[in-house]
Protein backbone atom coordinates (compact mmCIF):
# COMPACT_ATOMS: atom_id res chain seq x y z
CA UNK A 1 0.00 0.00 0.00
CA UNK A 2 2.79 2.39 0.99
CA UNK A 3 4.63 1.56 -2.22
CA UNK A 4 1.53 2.35 -4.26
CA UNK A 5 1.15 5.74 -2.54
CA UNK A 6 4.81 6.55 -3.16
CA UNK A 7 4.54 5.55 -6.83
CA UNK A 8 1.45 7.70 -7.27
CA UNK A 9 3.14 10.65 -5.54
CA UNK A 10 6.21 10.30 -7.77
CA UNK A 11 3.99 10.20 -10.86
CA UNK A 12 2.26 13.42 -9.79
CA UNK A 13 5.62 15.17 -9.23
CA UNK A 14 7.05 14.03 -12.58
CA UNK A 15 3.86 15.01 -14.39
CA UNK A 16 4.05 18.38 -12.68
CA UNK A 17 7.58 19.06 -13.87
CA UNK A 18 6.66 17.98 -17.39
CA UNK A 19 3.74 20.38 -17.39
CA UNK A 20 6.05 23.29 -16.46
CA UNK A 21 8.15 22.43 -19.47
CA UNK A 22 5.36 22.74 -21.99
CA UNK A 23 3.34 25.58 -20.49
CA UNK A 24 3.69 28.05 -17.67
CA UNK A 25 1.61 30.83 -16.14
CA UNK A 26 2.15 34.36 -17.42
CA UNK A 27 4.84 36.45 -15.71
CA UNK A 28 6.71 39.66 -16.30
CA UNK A 29 9.85 41.34 -15.01
CA UNK A 30 8.02 44.19 -13.28
CA UNK A 31 6.59 41.81 -10.66
CA UNK A 32 9.70 39.69 -10.16
CA UNK A 33 9.58 40.07 -6.37
CA UNK A 34 6.50 37.84 -6.33
CA UNK A 35 7.30 35.34 -9.07
CA UNK A 36 7.41 32.65 -6.39
CA UNK A 37 3.77 33.34 -5.52
CA UNK A 38 2.31 33.15 -9.03
CA UNK A 39 -0.32 30.44 -8.97
CA UNK A 40 -1.07 28.01 -11.76
CA UNK A 41 -4.79 27.70 -11.26
CA UNK A 42 -5.10 25.04 -13.94
CA UNK A 43 -3.04 22.53 -11.94
CA UNK A 44 -3.61 20.56 -8.78
CA UNK A 45 -1.00 20.23 -6.02
CA UNK A 46 2.00 20.26 -5.90
CA UNK A 47 2.17 22.56 -8.93
CA UNK A 48 0.00 25.42 -7.68
CA UNK A 49 3.14 27.55 -7.31
CA UNK A 50 5.38 26.39 -10.16
CA UNK A 51 7.83 29.27 -9.68
CA UNK A 52 8.34 28.73 -5.94
CA UNK A 53 12.07 28.18 -6.45
CA UNK A 54 12.38 31.88 -7.41
CA UNK A 55 11.61 32.65 -3.76
CA UNK A 56 12.99 29.75 -1.75
CA UNK A 57 16.07 28.88 -3.82
CA UNK A 58 19.46 29.48 -2.25
CA UNK A 59 21.62 29.44 -5.39
CA UNK A 60 19.77 31.98 -7.49
CA UNK A 61 21.02 34.12 -10.37
CA UNK A 62 22.03 36.76 -11.24
CA UNK A 63 24.46 37.96 -8.56
CA UNK A 64 26.37 41.07 -7.53
CA UNK A 65 30.01 40.41 -8.38
CA UNK A 66 31.20 43.16 -6.03
CA UNK A 67 29.78 41.24 -3.08
CA UNK A 68 31.50 37.97 -3.99
CA UNK A 69 34.89 36.55 -3.11
CA UNK A 70 37.03 35.18 -5.91
CA UNK A 71 39.25 32.12 -5.78
CA UNK A 72 41.86 31.60 -8.49
CA UNK A 73 43.75 28.83 -6.70
CA UNK A 74 41.57 25.88 -7.75
CA UNK A 75 42.36 23.95 -10.92
CA UNK A 76 39.56 24.59 -13.40
CA UNK A 77 38.42 23.04 -16.65
CA UNK A 78 39.56 24.58 -19.89
CA UNK A 79 36.64 26.45 -21.47
CA UNK A 80 36.18 26.74 -25.22
CA UNK A 81 33.39 27.39 -27.70
CA UNK A 82 32.87 25.24 -30.78
CA UNK A 83 30.12 27.30 -32.41
CA UNK A 84 29.82 27.12 -36.18
CA UNK A 85 27.54 28.60 -38.85
CA UNK A 86 23.84 27.80 -38.57
CA UNK A 87 20.49 28.83 -40.05
CA UNK A 88 18.72 29.72 -36.81
CA UNK A 89 15.25 30.89 -35.80
CA UNK A 90 14.91 34.51 -34.67
CA UNK A 91 12.32 34.47 -31.87
CA UNK A 92 10.59 37.33 -30.08
CA UNK A 93 9.67 35.37 -26.96
CA UNK A 94 7.56 38.00 -25.22
CA UNK A 95 10.33 38.47 -22.63
CA UNK A 96 13.48 38.97 -24.72
CA UNK A 97 14.91 38.78 -28.22
CA UNK A 98 16.25 35.28 -28.73
CA UNK A 99 17.99 33.19 -31.36
CA UNK A 100 17.30 29.44 -31.34
CA UNK A 101 19.81 27.14 -32.99
CA UNK A 102 18.54 24.64 -35.56
CA UNK A 103 18.18 20.93 -34.80
CA UNK A 104 21.23 20.21 -36.96
CA UNK A 105 23.51 22.62 -35.09
CA UNK A 106 26.40 20.80 -33.43
CA UNK A 107 28.31 23.64 -31.77
CA UNK A 108 28.52 24.10 -28.07
CA UNK A 109 30.46 25.03 -24.97
CA UNK A 110 33.37 22.72 -24.33
CA UNK A 111 34.00 22.37 -20.60
CA UNK A 112 37.04 20.16 -20.15
CA UNK A 113 36.39 17.15 -22.36
CA UNK A 114 32.61 17.54 -22.54
CA UNK A 115 30.69 19.69 -25.01
CA UNK A 116 27.30 21.07 -23.99
CA UNK A 117 25.16 21.91 -27.06
CA UNK A 118 24.12 25.53 -27.65
CA UNK A 119 20.32 25.67 -27.62
CA UNK A 120 19.63 29.39 -27.77
CA UNK A 121 21.02 32.83 -27.00
CA UNK A 122 19.12 35.88 -25.76
CA UNK A 123 19.63 39.40 -24.47
CA UNK A 124 18.76 41.34 -21.31
CA UNK A 125 18.67 45.12 -20.94
CA UNK A 126 20.32 46.28 -18.70
CA UNK A 127 22.77 43.61 -17.54
CA UNK A 128 21.57 41.09 -14.97
CA UNK A 129 24.93 40.57 -13.28
CA UNK A 130 26.05 43.76 -11.61
CA UNK A 131 29.17 45.09 -9.91
CA UNK A 132 27.87 46.99 -6.92
CA UNK A 133 25.91 49.93 -8.33
CA UNK A 134 27.29 49.38 -11.79
CA UNK A 135 25.17 47.75 -14.46
CA UNK A 136 26.26 47.23 -18.05
CA UNK A 137 23.86 48.44 -20.74
CA UNK A 138 23.01 44.86 -21.70
CA UNK A 139 23.97 41.21 -21.24
CA UNK A 140 24.09 38.25 -23.62
CA UNK A 141 23.35 34.71 -22.45
CA UNK A 142 24.35 31.63 -24.45
CA UNK A 143 22.23 28.74 -23.07
CA UNK A 144 23.66 25.21 -23.35
CA UNK A 145 21.73 22.09 -22.35
CA UNK A 146 22.79 18.44 -22.51
CA UNK A 147 20.50 15.58 -23.43
CA UNK A 148 20.30 14.58 -19.78
CA UNK A 149 19.26 18.09 -18.82
CA UNK A 150 22.37 19.77 -17.40
CA UNK A 151 22.51 23.50 -18.11
CA UNK A 152 25.48 25.83 -18.53
CA UNK A 153 25.09 29.50 -19.41
CA UNK A 154 27.88 31.60 -20.87
CA UNK A 155 27.24 35.24 -19.95
CA UNK A 156 28.84 38.20 -21.70
CA UNK A 157 28.48 41.80 -20.56
CA UNK A 158 27.69 44.35 -23.26
CA UNK A 159 28.88 47.95 -23.29
CA UNK A 160 28.14 50.73 -25.74
CA UNK A 161 30.91 51.25 -28.30
CA UNK A 162 31.71 49.83 -31.69
CA UNK A 163 28.77 48.43 -33.65
CA UNK A 164 28.40 44.63 -33.68
CA UNK A 165 27.62 43.34 -37.18
CA UNK A 166 26.06 40.04 -36.12
CA UNK A 167 23.90 41.75 -33.50
CA UNK A 168 22.56 43.96 -36.31
CA UNK A 169 21.60 40.78 -38.18
CA UNK A 170 19.62 39.70 -35.12
CA UNK A 171 17.85 43.07 -34.88
CA UNK A 172 17.08 43.13 -38.60
CA UNK A 173 15.53 39.66 -38.58
CA UNK A 174 13.68 39.75 -35.27
CA UNK A 175 9.87 39.69 -35.62
CA UNK A 176 8.25 42.79 -34.13
CA UNK A 177 5.32 40.99 -32.56
CA UNK A 178 5.57 39.06 -29.28
CA UNK A 179 5.67 35.34 -29.95
CA UNK A 180 6.79 35.90 -33.54
CA UNK A 181 9.32 33.50 -35.06
CA UNK A 182 11.43 33.95 -38.17
CA UNK A 183 12.88 30.63 -39.27
CA UNK A 184 12.98 31.31 -42.99
CA UNK A 185 15.65 33.99 -43.20
CA UNK A 186 18.16 31.48 -44.59
CA UNK A 187 20.92 33.58 -43.06
CA UNK A 188 24.18 31.86 -42.17
CA UNK A 189 24.74 32.82 -38.57
CA UNK A 190 27.80 31.93 -36.48
CA UNK A 191 27.19 32.77 -32.80
CA UNK A 192 30.97 32.89 -32.22
CA UNK A 193 31.01 36.21 -34.07
CA UNK A 194 29.16 37.75 -31.13
CA UNK A 195 32.07 36.98 -28.82
CA UNK A 196 35.01 39.29 -28.09
CA UNK A 197 38.25 38.93 -30.04
CA UNK A 198 39.88 36.47 -27.65
CA UNK A 199 41.22 32.92 -27.85
CA UNK A 200 37.99 30.92 -28.17
CA UNK A 201 39.90 27.72 -27.33
CA UNK A 202 40.94 28.98 -23.94
CA UNK A 203 38.45 31.45 -22.51
CA UNK A 204 39.08 33.45 -19.34
CA UNK A 205 36.06 33.27 -17.08
CA UNK A 206 34.39 33.48 -13.68
CA UNK A 207 32.25 30.48 -12.72
CA UNK A 208 29.70 29.73 -10.01
CA UNK A 209 26.56 27.71 -9.33
CA UNK A 210 23.32 29.51 -10.03
CA UNK A 211 19.90 29.31 -11.63
CA UNK A 212 17.83 30.37 -14.59
CA UNK A 213 17.17 34.10 -14.21
CA UNK A 214 13.56 33.77 -15.33
CA UNK A 215 10.74 31.60 -13.97
CA UNK A 216 10.86 28.78 -13.00
CA UNK A 217 14.32 29.95 -11.71
CA UNK A 218 15.55 26.33 -11.72
CA UNK A 219 18.84 25.82 -9.89
CA UNK A 220 21.69 23.53 -10.91
CA UNK A 221 22.78 25.91 -13.66
CA UNK A 222 26.55 26.36 -14.01
CA UNK A 223 27.39 29.93 -14.91
CA UNK A 224 30.45 31.08 -16.83
CA UNK A 225 30.89 34.85 -17.12
CA UNK A 226 33.44 35.90 -19.70
CA UNK A 227 36.11 38.19 -18.33
CA UNK A 228 36.07 40.23 -21.54
CA UNK A 229 33.05 42.19 -22.65
CA UNK A 230 31.63 43.04 -26.08
CA UNK A 231 30.19 46.22 -27.52
CA UNK A 232 27.20 47.29 -29.56
CA UNK A 233 26.54 50.79 -30.83
CA UNK A 234 24.20 53.25 -29.12
CA UNK A 235 21.86 53.00 -32.11
CA UNK A 236 21.79 49.20 -31.70
CA UNK A 237 21.07 49.50 -28.00
CA UNK A 238 18.25 51.95 -28.74
CA UNK A 239 16.81 49.56 -31.31
CA UNK A 240 17.05 46.65 -28.87
CA UNK A 241 15.10 48.70 -26.33
CA UNK A 242 12.24 49.04 -28.79
CA UNK A 243 11.77 45.29 -28.33
CA UNK A 244 12.37 45.00 -24.58
CA UNK A 245 13.66 47.21 -21.84
CA UNK A 246 14.20 46.48 -18.13
CA UNK A 247 13.97 42.75 -18.78
CA UNK A 248 16.63 41.97 -16.19
CA UNK A 249 16.23 40.17 -12.88
CA UNK A 250 17.70 41.88 -9.82
CA UNK A 251 20.83 40.47 -8.15
CA UNK A 252 20.10 37.63 -5.72
CA UNK A 253 21.69 36.66 -2.41
CA UNK A 254 25.04 34.90 -2.71
CA UNK A 255 24.40 32.64 0.29
CA UNK A 256 28.08 31.89 0.88
CA UNK A 257 28.81 31.11 -2.77
CA UNK A 258 32.28 32.02 -3.95
CA UNK A 259 33.38 32.53 -7.52
CA UNK A 260 36.10 30.46 -9.10
CA UNK A 261 38.20 31.97 -11.85
CA UNK A 262 41.09 31.09 -14.13
CA UNK A 263 42.11 34.75 -14.29
Amino acid sequence: MKTKILVNLASIIIAGYASIAVSAPEWNHSEQATWWAIEDTTKTLPQNFPFAECGVGTHQSPIDLAAATFDNTKPLNNLAVTYSADTPTFFNTGHAIQVNTSSSFTGGLKVGDETLPLIQLHFHEPSEHVIGDKKFPAELHFVHITGDGRIAVLGVAIDVGTENTLFQTILDNMPAEEGGKNSTSGIQFNPAQLLPAVDLENLKYYTFAGSLTTPPCSEGVQWYLLSEIITISQAQLDKMKTFYTNNARAAQSLNERSILTNQ
Partner: protein, 83 residues
Protein backbone atom coordinates in the same frame (compact mmCIF):
# COMPACT_ATOMS: atom_id res chain seq x y z
CA UNK B 1 52.94 80.36 -35.77
CA UNK B 2 53.01 77.68 -38.46
CA UNK B 3 55.46 75.64 -36.40
CA UNK B 4 53.10 75.81 -33.40
CA UNK B 5 50.17 74.65 -35.52
CA UNK B 6 52.29 71.84 -36.95
CA UNK B 7 53.38 70.68 -33.49
CA UNK B 8 49.80 70.78 -32.19
CA UNK B 9 48.62 68.66 -35.13
CA UNK B 10 51.43 66.11 -34.61
CA UNK B 11 50.66 65.91 -30.89
CA UNK B 12 46.93 65.34 -31.37
CA UNK B 13 47.64 62.71 -34.05
CA UNK B 14 50.01 60.79 -31.80
CA UNK B 15 47.53 60.89 -28.89
CA UNK B 16 44.72 59.51 -31.07
CA UNK B 17 47.03 56.79 -32.44
CA UNK B 18 47.94 55.80 -28.89
CA UNK B 19 44.27 55.62 -27.87
CA UNK B 20 43.48 53.57 -30.97
CA UNK B 21 46.17 51.00 -30.21
CA UNK B 22 44.77 50.54 -26.70
CA UNK B 23 41.22 49.97 -27.97
CA UNK B 24 42.24 46.81 -29.85
CA UNK B 25 42.09 44.86 -26.60
CA UNK B 26 38.59 43.84 -25.49
CA UNK B 27 37.46 45.62 -22.34
CA UNK B 28 37.39 43.67 -19.08
CA UNK B 29 34.33 42.76 -17.06
CA UNK B 30 36.12 43.44 -13.77
CA UNK B 31 39.13 45.57 -12.82
CA UNK B 32 41.63 43.97 -10.47
CA UNK B 33 40.57 46.49 -7.81
CA UNK B 34 37.02 45.09 -7.95
CA UNK B 35 38.07 41.54 -7.18
CA UNK B 36 37.90 40.40 -3.58
CA UNK B 37 40.21 37.44 -3.18
CA UNK B 38 39.14 34.61 -0.92
CA UNK B 39 41.22 34.07 2.22
CA UNK B 40 42.50 30.73 0.90
CA UNK B 41 44.71 32.34 -1.72
CA UNK B 42 46.17 35.23 0.24
CA UNK B 43 49.86 34.92 0.94
CA UNK B 44 50.16 31.55 -0.71
CA UNK B 45 51.42 30.74 -4.15
CA UNK B 46 50.73 27.02 -3.98
CA UNK B 47 47.61 25.57 -5.48
CA UNK B 48 45.22 23.79 -3.17
CA UNK B 49 44.72 20.11 -3.82
CA UNK B 50 41.99 19.30 -6.34
CA UNK B 51 38.93 17.52 -4.98
CA UNK B 52 39.43 13.77 -4.83
CA UNK B 53 38.02 11.70 -7.67
CA UNK B 54 35.49 10.05 -5.39
CA UNK B 55 34.32 13.40 -4.07
CA UNK B 56 33.98 14.76 -7.59
CA UNK B 57 32.07 11.67 -8.68
CA UNK B 58 29.73 11.92 -5.68
CA UNK B 59 29.12 15.60 -6.37
CA UNK B 60 28.45 14.94 -10.04
CA UNK B 61 26.13 12.05 -9.23
CA UNK B 62 24.23 14.13 -6.70
CA UNK B 63 23.83 16.93 -9.22
CA UNK B 64 22.55 14.52 -11.84
CA UNK B 65 20.10 12.96 -9.42
CA UNK B 66 18.69 16.38 -8.57
CA UNK B 67 18.19 17.22 -12.21
CA UNK B 68 17.07 13.86 -13.52
CA UNK B 69 13.29 14.25 -13.22
CA UNK B 70 13.05 17.79 -14.47
CA UNK B 71 15.62 18.48 -17.12
CA UNK B 72 15.13 16.37 -20.28
CA UNK B 73 12.32 18.66 -21.36
CA UNK B 74 14.39 21.78 -20.59
CA UNK B 75 15.75 21.86 -24.15
CA UNK B 76 12.23 22.29 -25.47
CA UNK B 77 11.27 24.67 -22.68
CA UNK B 78 14.28 26.92 -23.29
CA UNK B 79 13.57 27.10 -27.01
CA UNK B 80 9.97 28.10 -26.37
CA UNK B 81 10.73 30.50 -23.50
CA UNK B 82 13.54 32.81 -22.46
CA UNK B 83 15.20 30.81 -19.70
Amino acid sequence: MLIKLFLAAVLSLSVSCYAESGSDQPKKLLDSSQIKKSSTDTGSSTQSAPPSASAKKAESQSSQDTNQDEKPSMIKYCQEHTC
